[in-house]
Amino acid sequence: MRPTLSQAVARLILLPGLAISIATLVKGYGDAGDGFAAGVIAALTLLVQYVAFGYREAERRIPGLRRLPVAAVAGLARALAVALVPAARGDAILTHWPPPGDSPVRLGTLELVSAVLFDVGVFLVVLGVVTGAVGAIARAAERAGGRA
């Protein structure tokens, strides 16, 4: 009943989609990209799986998909922590390390700044909320005997 073509596309798209999203995530601040965009890309990739396979099959194929809403809470906590740690040290909240002008620690072409940590939190929130909401609606619709 689900078209094979979309399943094939969904299968093909899964890993590249996630890879692009992670690239967008870590390259933020040095280049175009940030946690929100990365989260949206990853969430869309996973949504394609939901649409192509139905939520049961998708959750069977991708272990941990059901647990992603938990990641949203973890991400929120992480973003809050990154925001509030400078406050504990006497700076304004959301002050990032290293300060503007200093050169950050480099790992190959990656620039490690604390803003990326914050963005990982944002990424997890977006991803967790989107997949959680879609999963919950799919389940509720099925309980209601819907066509979704």
């Binding site: 909401a133 619709a141 309980r143």
Partner: protein, 124 residues
């Protein structure tokens, strides 16, 4: 560019408004989403300027683009997303209680209920 954006905003809003008037609840939601994107795009268009990235230290030689609209639009998109999720959840509940994802059906169910109430009242 402004002209293109205004045209797209107009088309999005028009299409959204058209869908909002449909009886099918899913179409209504798509209509809301389209209208929300029309608003987001209008917000983007309101501060469109082309220049250097607004990253510290600022290049004072020529103009920098306006970062504020991007932040505003991002906020509006997130709000729109939350609202869409909420509406989808509501449709599921409407469906569960009326067994129809369709406003006409819902209205008929309401009318039946009202008629029953009227009968009860008359018999009292």
């Amino acid at each position: 560019m402004i002209l293109v954006i205004s045209l797209v905003v107009a088309i999005l809003f028009g299409a959204g408004a058209y869908l909002l008037l449909k009886p099918d609840l899913f179409r209504v939601i798509v209509g809301v989403v389209l209208v929300s994107h029309a608003a987001n795009l209008a917000l983007m268009g309101s501060g469109l300027s082309r220049g250097q990235p607004p990253i510290y230290p600022l290049p004072f030689s020529d103009g920098i683009s306006d970062p504020l609209v991007q932040a505003l639009t991002l906020t509006a998109i997130v709000i729109g997303f939350a609202v869409t999720t909420l509406l989808l959840g509501l449709v599921v509940r409407v469906y569960r209680s009326h067994f129809a994802p369709d406003l006409d059906e819902v209205a008929r169910a309401e009318a039946r209920r009202e008629a029953e109430l009227e009968r009860d009242e008359v018999s009292i």
